[in-house]
Subunit: 203 residues, 2 copies
Amino acid sequence: MSGIRAQQKEKTRRLLIDAALNQLSADQSFSNLSLREVAKEAGLAATSFYRHFNDMDELGLTLVDEAGLTLRQLMRQARLRIEKGGSVIQISVKTFMEFIESNGNEFRLLLRERSGTSTEFRAAVSREIRYFTMELCDYLQKANKLDVETSYLQANAAVTIVFSAGAEALDANESERQELADRTIKQLRFIARGAMDLSSRSK
Amino acid sequence: MSGIRAQQKEKTRRLLIDAALNQLSADQSFSNLSLREVAKEAGLAATSFYRHFNDMDELGLTLVDEAGLTLRQLMRQARLRIEKGGSVIQISVKTFMEFIESNGNEFRLLLRERSGTSTEFRAAVSREIRYFTMELCDYLQKANKLDVETSYLQANAAVTIVFSAGAEALDANESERQELADRTIKQLRFIARGAMDLSSRSK
DNA sequence: TAGAATAGTGTACACGTGTACGCTGAAATA
DNA sequence: TATTTCAGCGTACACGTGTACACTATTCTA
């Protein structure tokens, strides 16, 4: 039951997904993409699009899912690097910045649709960010032996800071990015220190 | 030289600006607005739009400027409240949340265009945020006697956290907003504490 | 092997868009 | 007062959009 047909279908589905991803850029957001253009870039007739997605939104939500997945895989990578020794914060920020550099369009998608026009998109993005935050929260809880609330607050703040830095990085050149990374690292240290202090204080 | 004509022109210009602002919502971003619809809402023929703006972008940039202005006026208000006594952080967050509640559409505009499709818009928004950050930076520097770098890092991080909380507040109900405000206050305390600590440490 | 299912095609349509153009009436100017 | 200026109007156009529909060719199924 391999299914020559199903196989081919999956293949052109990917073509559509990749076409959409390729058309995203600093100057073009997902909502500006037209079904026709995406189909064209994928080498399909416009109407063939419907054999794979009900509408552009369905494609878009798929993209959001994939971007979130990429993000989580990335952080697993970062954890591996950390185990080999090195500053947790430094390595995390560096890894994230590398993600921005090589997956700019995926990140742009998350960034834009987070405050976009569709409730469904906003929900999807904030779900992905929540996953991301939760994983960090678990890590902090174990590594620093903090209570749940404090480590959640820290994780949430850290993710916010890092995402914001990522957004700035998109428009920045090499040296600006370096400076940005340094700033971000310091700010994450503020948060970590504050969390430690104010948590032990409440005991 | 009052100019009946100039006066009338200014009046319908305002009509256009307000019409655009009114059409912004959770479901409609500025880039989705059409010149025709805005003119219609203002009670004008579509082509009359051009008597006031060269294109929709020009109107949009005007809106961004006004939103930034509102934001800064807001913080002056907050400072007055603070002088009457009370926690700096608490009052600032509360004031900001009130802004979100009564100027949701202006805030949405800033939020969306910050990562939007137009370089000019992105620049305009980040300029407004920079002003906002700088004012906070000055304040922190004087109030806490910190060095420039540390107070800038703190201001920058604080603004990021508060904006992010504001974005979440847009989709939240009353009780969620309260919880959100509490979280934000704690996170700002983390940052403040961390900044104090790590600044004195380096002396 | 005959018939059903279906991925992909091309045509056609109604719709909303920005904007060029010429016109009108009232305000400004000389 | 005679002339110029100009905010606002309506028409008209070309363009890109989503998608309904009928058709073809190939794979799947019984």
